[in-house]
Symmetry: C2
Subunit: 199 residues, 2 copies
Amino acid sequence: MPKQVDHQERRETIARALWRVVERRGATRLSLREVAQEAGISLGQLQHYFPSRADLLAFAMDFAGEQAGLRVGRGLAALGERPHPRDVLRVTLVEMLPLHADARVTSRMSAAYVLEALHDEDVRARARDGLLRGREAVERVVRQAVADGLIAPDRDPAVETDLLLALTGFTTLLELRVIGPAEVLTAVDRHLDGLFARF
Amino acid sequence: MPKQVDHQERRETIARALWRVVERRGATRLSLREVAQEAGISLGQLQHYFPSRADLLAFAMDFAGEQAGLRVGRGLAALGERPHPRDVLRVTLVEMLPLHADARVTSRMSAAYVLEALHDEDVRARARDGLLRGREAVERVVRQAVADGLIAPDRDPAVETDLLLALTGFTTLLELRVIGPAEVLTAVDRHLDGLFARF
């Protein structure tokens, strides 16, 4: 089915063009015309694939999320069989922060998407679903680590999960160069040290 | 000097109108015409006070920051003389999160401002300065608490400060209703328990 493959490829090309525009110009004044130009197609062709701005944003966000998932998957695979849950959480958390160019694109897309979500119920529902799935995955790791005696039994897995997710707040500090990548990694390690402290 | 007072009042009226528009419609497609309408003045009058969009955003952000500072000040005053540093950090942190309507406005203004900052060096410098001042204030409290033996001496005040600021990542979780205010407060308290744990 070569036609379907082309269709998906074209959509991904447009999504990557959107990412570059977001990276360069920001999402606050995003123009579909500029995205079309960046993708090397006409506005009409772009609208053939994505009838509305919301359609394009949703696809670009899903695609960014998929790519981030693949990066986490590669990071986890590099840990070998039966990785320590501390390393699993570190890889996951670090990949959510704008510490390198690919993660920065995903992070900026997310920030734009969250702002859009505040005023669009459909976008909010999609963004919420994605975050809830991510939250569940992290909580499973924490819960198993408690069951395996690697995290103190008096720690509440749900609360510890919320604290881990909250550390995505490093995004703003990094983007505004309030602190640098080395300081963020030190702080993430300090937090994980506390979570996996001997008891 | 009644004229100067009027001038400042008018600017604050416009800033509050901007906040309401941001609250209602989001910052991604902010129109100065809509802000003028919300403030009950003409676009020309608005431009008399704020010649550019950047001027208006900067003033509205500074004013939101001031108001947040006043809220923190009132919270600290309510703690009485010589408040415990744990309570000082809790009041400060909680006021930075969108847990009530006033704080939500400040929080959404900040999110919009950070996105704008990524692509405007002046905005970035202003936003960065504000965050650095906030960071210093938090670090002073942490450093004093270590000196006073309330936080373990092996904790690095800079790292602990970064972790406290990172907890502003709860903003997204709250805005998308992934978790609620009660869960956020529980997690903040858990983090502070860990920081002020007996050693």
